[in-house]
């Protein structure tokens, strides 16, 4: 019976509507009690965290990460990836299935959640939507859900065939699972390695047009409309274009359950940040035009974007140190999401702290139906982030817990320093002020 007291902090729980100084008692992995400062009577032998001057908030939830295991342990492992998560303030991560083998089966889904993996925070597997993510045959969603899958996706690849997508949406709805679509019409992006635009032309690189994303989002929304099934939930992964966002906005106005997530790099960077072939600025979907980036910012400020998700995608150094068109897609994200989001969304663009945190915890948790996560109401999981909302620091990729270093944010200013990350009552990460 382990108990932990968090004393002297300011509790900010957007889901529960709390924004006040509170002390918390965590017991057996759950939030046992929340009281006015100094009013808790903790059991003897409790550990105590002094959160004076710090913000206490639900542990962050990242619904789009690549933990690379099974199969790609040279890029990242479940240990190293979840260590990054903990360092970044995340207590729940949803892991994409483009592993080796692809996670389209119960065995792999269970393997990923086994305690033998030594995950530092809670891992929620996202199972593949189709067999091998080849976009043809549907997997057994009921079995996968029982095994612990939190959603289905062929991420890395789109579910391209209309008949297949229709079946995926229907079958997933039947068992209450969300379909996460990597919206890229790959027929339009053949050979492309960055956004199609003046930058790609100037660099002599084949481009991936914005319409490759928006056309598939529009197609999927049309399918959702045709299905007329209130249980259907389409979630657009890593949205990056104004046109796709506009389609999502319209779908919501029409009452459809269509959600979307945006990654920090898509609301901060543009295709100009590729610079001279910086492979640490190469990912899919690619960095887009300034107009698209600005639309992502607007979408976050006005609420049409449902969640911030990092698409944490580690790749080994030697894999990225190649010709731009040959480099694999993806960058790290877990350790910088909070710092970047607070610096830009909160400090620069004046989005209230609670709204930013909600985009990083309450909303993604609710989106995927993660019960007891993303909130610290009594009875919920003791997933807590204690951080210094005023601390400004500089990101140094050489301090990363990842096995990889592929980030364009090295040296960037960050706001908000994680002091403790507590996962189900256990301290997963600590970095107290010296």
């Amino acid at each position: 019976m382990s108990t932990l007291v968090i004393r002297g902090g300011h509790l900010l729980d957007p889901a529960a509507g709390v924004d006040a100084p509170k002390d918390l008692l965590l017991k057996d992995g759950r939030v046992a009690e929340i009281a006015a400062p100094g009013k808790l009577k903790p059991p003897s032998g409790s550990d105590v965290i002094d959160a004076s001057g710090l913000t206490v908030t639900p542990g962050l939830v990242d619904i789009h990460v690549h933990l690379r295991e099974p199969g790609f342990g040279h890029k990242e492992t479940i240990v190293s990836g979840t260590s990054c998560a903990a360092a970044g303030g995340f207590t729940s991560v949803a892991a994409m299935p483009n592993t080796k083998p692809v996670n389209d089966n119960v065995e792999t889904t269970r393997w990923m959640q086994s305690p033998d993996r030594d995950a530092q925070v809670r891992v929620f597997p996202i199972a593949a939507a189709t067999r091998g993510s080849k976009g043809e045959l549907i997997n057994d969603y009921a079995a996968l859900k029982s095994a612990g899958a939190i959603a289905v996706s062929d991420d890395g690849l789109p579910i391209l065939k209309e008949s297949v997508m229709r079946e995926v949406l229907t079958s997933a709805a039947r068992v209450g699972l969300c379909v996460i679509q990597h919206a890229e019409d790959t027929r339009m992006t053949v050979g492309g390695s960055m956004n199609l635009g003046p930058a790609s032309f100037g660099l002599g690189l084949r481009g991936m047009p914005a319409v490759a994303e928006s056309s598939l989002v529009e197609r999927d929304i049309r399918l959702v409309g045709e299905l007329r099934d209130a249980r259907v939930h389409l979630h657009v992964a890593h949205i990056s274009t104004a046109a796709a966002l506009a389609a999502v906005r319209q779908a919501r106005r029409n009452g459809m359950r269509v959600t979307c997530e945006v990654a920090p790099h898509h609301f901060l960077l543009t295709d100009e940040h590729v610079g001279f072939y910086n492979t640490n600025a190469k990912m899919c979907p690619p960095l887009r035009s300034a107009a698209d980036r600005d639309a992502m910012i607007e979408g976050l400020l006005d609420g049409v974007v449902d969640a911030i998700a990092t698409d944490h995608a580690p790749h080994a150094q030697h894999e990225k140190e190649v010709e731009f068109e040959n480099a694999p897609n993806g960058i790290l994200g877990l350790e910088t999401a909070l710092g970047l989001s607070l610096h830009w969304l909160h400090k620069e663009w004046k989005l209230p702290l609670g709204r930013v945190l909600s985009l990083l915890s309450a909303q993604p948790a609710a989106l995927l139906g993660m019960k007891g996560r993303g909130t610290l109401a009594v009875g919920s999981y003791a997933d807590v982030l204690v951080f210094d909302s005023k601390a400004e620091w500089t990101y140094d990729v050489h301090q990363t817990r990842s096995k990889s270093k592929n980030t364009p944010f090295d040296g960037w200013p960050m706001l908000g320093k994680v002091r403790w990350t507590i996962s189900e009552g256990r301290i997963a990460y600590t970095n107290p002020a010296s």
């Binding site: 199609l196 635009g197 003046p198 032309f201 100037g202 660099l203 002599g204 690189l205 928006s214 529009e218 104004a242 046109a243 506009a246 389609a247 319209q250 901060l268 960077l269 543009t270 100009e272 940040h273 610079g275 001279f276 072939y277 035009s289 300034a290 107009a291 698209d292 980036r293 600005d294 639309a295 910012i297 607007e298 030697h318 140190e321 190649v322 010709e323 731009f324 068109e325 040959n326 830009w344 620069e348 663009w349 960037w412």
Partner: protein, 341 residues
């Protein structure tokens, strides 16, 4: 759904792209942008000096310095002229081509570069099929790298020798260059612009000296967004109009396989864009005709035009050696000049 991408409704500051760290080595020539107008002028002067120099004196300039040529693509003109250029300055050269090296075994560009550096190469001249490869090589080796063509991106020495040719015809006797040297000059580039590093280097360089660049070709080979590639660039789809406005006509090689792949009819293409004697006489009788080579006689250009009196194609090749002597010399002496050797 017609959606105009919204601009930020409020004025929000957003992260700026960081300044480029390239080139890492002051002797490198990765892009035509690596040369200021001043440096460009010095290079052109030096090319002339070296061309006129006594060969027996000239070959002491880089005596026993080591230059590696690393060519992942076949080449006649570029490779030979770089080799001859380096050798006429006295340098030792070695050619590593992908077909006869460990590149076939999968050795990376980075490792190949490091190996060449370990073998004593003091500069690497690189031709590679991937855009950006010269930047990768420079960053990983720290050596002066001369870009001899990186994928579809740039071919800086080609643009320099094209410039030398243009100046010789349109500005004879001019020894100093500045932002206005080519005022009033329109250069029309025709053909497969999308895939052409020659087109890019030229369209980046020429406007810096005051020239206008007209890009001409069908949509499939010349996307509209090319017009935004830099100042002084416009697109003209009518070959006739583009010819009328030009003092310099630069034809690019057309690859029949590429046309086929894009579902473009070869005969229709020739109808619209082939440079023939009658066309040239009718619409651009005073202009200089350039082509980076290799020419495909009867495809983008007829034999008559290629061999005709307006053609400066072979002069370009000769100019290439002069330019490359200056570029190789700069690669191996620039850092020393700046006291950084």
């Amino acid at each position: 759904m017609n959606v105009a991408a919204p601009t930020l409704r409020r004025q929000l500051s957003t992260p700026q792209a960081p300044p480029s760290p390239f080139p890492y080595n002051s002797g490198s020539l990765l892009s035509v942008f690596d040369l200021s107008i001043e440096a460009l002028g010095r290079l052109l002067e030096r090319a002339t000096e070296l061309e006129k120099a006594d060969p027996l004196v000239r070959d002491h300039i880089l005596a026993k310095r080591r230059v590696a040529l690393l060519f992942y693509e076949s080449s006649t003109r570029t490779r030979t002229s770089f080799e001859l250029a380096a050798k006429s300055l006295g340098a030792d050269t070695t050619l590593v081509s992908s077909l006869s090296s460990s590149i076939e075994k999968g050795e990376s560009l980075k490792d190949t570069g490091l190996t060449l550096r370990a073998l004593g190469a003091e500069a690497i001249i690189l031709r590679h099929n991937s855009s950006g490869s010269a930047w990768l090589l420079e960053r990983e080796t720290g050596l002066p790298v001369i870009n001899a063509g990186d994928g579809m991106h740039e071919h800086p020495t080609q643009a320099l020798l094209d410039l030398r040719t243009i100046l010789a015809h349109l500005r004879p006797g001019v020894t100093k260059v500045d932002e206005h040297t080519l005022d009033g000059v329109t250069v029309t580039i025709v053909g497969d612009i999308m895939h052409s590093r020659v087109a890019r280097s030229n369209m980046f360089l020429l406007p810096r000296l005051g020239a206008k660049v007209i890009l001409c070709g069908p949509k499939e080979l010349l996307p509209e967004l090319a017009a935004g590639a830099g100042p002084g660039i416009e697109i003209e789809r009518s070959f006739e109009t583009a010819l009328r406005r030009a003092q310099v006509v630069m034809m690019l090689r057309i690859q029949a396989e590429r046309l086929a792949g894009l579902q473009l009819d070869l005969d229709e293409y020739k109808e619209d864009y082939q440079l023939t004697g009658p066309r040239l006489a009718a619409f651009a009788p005073q202009s200089v005709v350039l082509h980076p080579g290799p020419i495909i006689r009867g495809l983008e250009i007829t034999a008559g035009v290629a061999d005709g009196f307006q053609s400066a194609i072979l002069e370009q090749v000769t100019n290439g050696v002069a330019i490359r002597m200056a570029v190789v010399e700069r690669a191996l002496t620039q850092a020393r000049k700046e006291g950084r050797a």
